[in-house]
């Protein structure tokens, strides 16, 4: 047998030469297991932390580094800031919680994008392209328009509705997609996502038209903003990411299988139905929380996983953590730009992400075409 393959292998190697690009990128995985080692995680955490520091130090109001250090040290040592310390208030009550919220949102959206792209074997899948974000927005708008709240917990009404509608939208779109085209091809899903998003935005417009007094609320809400988010929002985001993110990170092997195709995943023994449902629920919950806190922010979930994939290859054991950290860094930097570019005017963060994201995405598409 081996003998008879001998000639074959020779021929094979000739063919393999021109595509050495693919080889180089993946050879590392061969030797060092599939996931990242501790060193890689430390590096990721360091980059994220440095970005966080940069984003806390820089902003609309220029605060000297020495002042920043003093304020941070005071805060850490538990001393109350002086009553009239405006810089401390800016740093600790505004910038820090906002940057934390931005980082957590970026990490969540990017992780969701990576998971969806794997699960659906579709490189263009993302909360915004699939209409999940619009669905979440619809849920939140409904809860504002009809005053759906949970009395004991503030924000819970909007958030719960956003999560519920994110999940319902995802299920609806996937059901339709499976009906139309069982292989879930890229085009079918994207087409449905675009149609659904347009449908939802017209429904939101309709609700706005009938909402009367609350019109201002809703129109502003759909614009979305992470400015003014505090530690409470950061804590909610962190909790959601801790729960759903962990589940997603633990599904890396299953997502690898799905990325090769749902059929193949079933053949090698993946509990296809359970994994799919778990991932979809986690993704919807995360997107729901993000949208209800920061509005819809496009392109993060689409672009960062692609950039991460260029670095780490498609294996989700490396792709998911890389996307998590990459998303945080990307959105923090985008937010920094939105804060300082036209100072004192602030740009909506979605404008910045779409601007950068669209250009980056074009570059990625172009590169992908060239490699394959």
């Amino acid at each position: 047998m081996i003998l008879c393959m001998g000639t074959t292998r020779h021929k094979r190697l000739d063919r393999a030469q021109p595509s050495s690009k693919g080889t180089a990128r993946l050879s590392r995985a061969e030797t060092a297991g599939e996931g990242f080692g501790a060193a890689a995680y430390i590096a990721f955490a360091a980059v994220t932390l440095l970005t966080l520091l940069l984003c806390v130090c820089a902003g609309s109001v220029r605060i000297p580094l020495s002042e920043t250090a003093r304020i941070c040290l005071q805060a850490i040592s538990g001393k109350r800031a002086a009553q009239s310390d405006t810089l401390a208030a800016i740093l600790l009550s505004m910038r820090l919680p906002r940057v934390l919220c931005v980082a957590l949102t970026g990490a969540s959206l990017s992780l969701c994008g990576a998971a969806m792209q794997g699960l659906l074997k579709n490189p263009l899948a993302d909360g915004s392209t699939l209409g999940v974000s619009s669905g979440a927005a619809l849920g939140a708008v409904l809860s504002i328009a009809f005053g759906i709240t949970i009395p004991a917990i503030p924000l819970a009404g909007t958030m719960g509705m956003a999560m519920l509608f994110a999940l319902l939208s995802l299920l609806l779109i996937l059901t339709l997609a499976y009906r139309l085209d069982y292989s879930l091809s890229t085009n079918t899903i994207l087409l449905l996502g675009v149609i659904y998003s347009m449908f939802v935005s017209s429904i939101i417009a309709l609700i706005t038209a009938f909402a009367g007094e609350k019109v201002r609320h809703i129109t502003f809400w759909t614009m979305g903003s992470l400015s003014g988010s505090g530690y409470r929002e950061a804590l909610i985001l962190l909790a959601a990411l801790a729960v759903c993110g962990t589940v997603l990170l633990c599904s890396a092997r299953e997502l690898n299988a799905f990325a090769l195709g749902e059929e193949n995943a079933r053949h090698i023994g993946v509990n296809v139905r359970r994994v799919k449902l778990t991932v979809l629920i986690c993704v919807s919950a995360l997107i729901g929380v993000c949208v209800s806190i920061g509005g819809t922010i496009g392109f993060v979930g689409l672009v960062t996983p692609h950039m991460a994939r260029l670095l780490t290859g498609p294996n989700h054991k490396r792709l998911l953590p890389a996307s998590l950290f990459g998303g945080a860094v990307f959105l923090m930097l985008a937010d920094l730009l939105s804060r300082v570019l036209l100072n004192p005017i602030e740009l909506p963060i979605g404008v910045v992400t779409s601007l950068i994201g669209a250009i980056l995405f074009l570059c990625i598409l172009y590169r992908m075409r060239r490699i394959v």
Partner: protein, 313 residues
């Protein structure tokens, strides 16, 4: 029956106008009375015909408000859907405005004159209305007080309420002058931050080129964001840095939870802002400083009171 006759008449009038326009017939022959013309705020000559103007539609909230202020409200046969002041205006039939401008709705009400702000986007539809014989008068959308006077005078001209318009303008001028004079006596120059939208949606403020900015200057206060052009989203940090003495919000209270002023007072990190420390956070409840209308004088008075206190000399 009467309404029917009026609309027939106006259709005939429209047809006549059309004919004159098309055939360029000598005007003297068609109109025995003297034809009035006005120059609107976009500098166009508008022919109004000889008859007094008795049927008008005001599309912009400010148009309706000025018509009421001039006592010409009886001529209002329609209003733009966002017109809400004074309260009585709501009972007048509403038509869609702005991007939803609906020519059929307007034609059905058979107005002689249509007042639109020169911000209205749809020139083609306005041309269609003009072609149908409706005099389309562009009113003010410039956010400076001199332009407001011009707008009031223009509407006064069209409605033949020149005397009333002069009186309204004089009143406004007198009010502003009095405030400016009083303000000179106030020693220190206070700083004001105007908030247009609450933090939850991103902070929007009124910068240079707004009534708020101009009137703040007039009463001897300083808008902390006068370096920003128009209405803009600004950084929360900058509000803290610029530390205003007074905060004025135009947020509407929807009857639930905190009022706009209470919400500002409760913000974390704002405790050290002078206005918050002193409780100098006020709410302008009803667009007093956002529309080009006579009520600007009321708004200016309110702002003066906010800045210098109610019992100020």
């Amino acid at each position: 029956m009467k309404r029917f006759r009026v609309s027939v008449l106006s259709v005939m009038a429209a047809a006549a106008l059309l004919l004159t326009a098309c055939a360029k017939a000598p005007e003297q022959a068609q109109t025995p009375q003297e034809t009035r013309t006005v120059t609107d705020m976009r500098g166009r000559e508008i022919a109004l015909g000889g008859a007094p103007v008795t049927r008008v539609i005001g599309l912009t909230p400010s148009d309706c408000e000025i018509l009421y202020a001039l006592g010409a409200q009886d001529a209002l046969v329609g209003r733009g859907e966002y017109c809400d002041y004074p309260a009585a205006v709501v009972s007048i039939p509403a038509v869609q405005s702005n991007y939803e401008l609906n020519t059929e709705q307007i034609l059905a009400l058979a107005p002689q004159v249509l007042f639109v702000s020169d911000m209205e986007p749809s020139d083609e539809r306005l041309q269609a209305l003009e072609a149908a014989g409706i005099a389309v008068v562009m009113t003010n959308a410039h956010y400076e007080i001199d332009a407001v006077y011009q707008g009031i005078a223009l509407i006064g001209d069209v409605m033949q309420k020149e005397a009333e318009a002069d009186a309204v303008i004089a009143q406004m001028q007198a009010a502003f002058d009095a405030l400016a004079k009083k303000a000179v006596q106030q020693g220190e120059k206070k700083t004001v931050y105007f908030e247009v939208s609450p933090l939850e949606y991103g902070l929007w403020t009124a910068g240079a080129g707004t009534f708020m900015d101009e009137i703040a200057k007039m009463i001897g206060a300083k808008n902390v964001f006068s370096d920003v052009e128009g209405w803009s989203e600004i950084s929360e940090e900058q509000v803290l840095l610029r530390n205003p003495d007074v905060i004025v919000t135009i947020g509407m209270y929807d009857g639930e939870g905190l009022t706009p002023a209470e919400e500002i007072l409760s913000r974390t990190g704002w405790e050290n802002v002078t206005a918050v420390k002193n409780g100098a956070v006020f709410n302008l409840p009803d667009n007093e400083l956002s529309r080009p209308v006579p009520r600007l004088a009321d708004g200016a008075r309110m702002l003066y009171d906010f800045v210098y206190g109610n019992d100020a000399a």
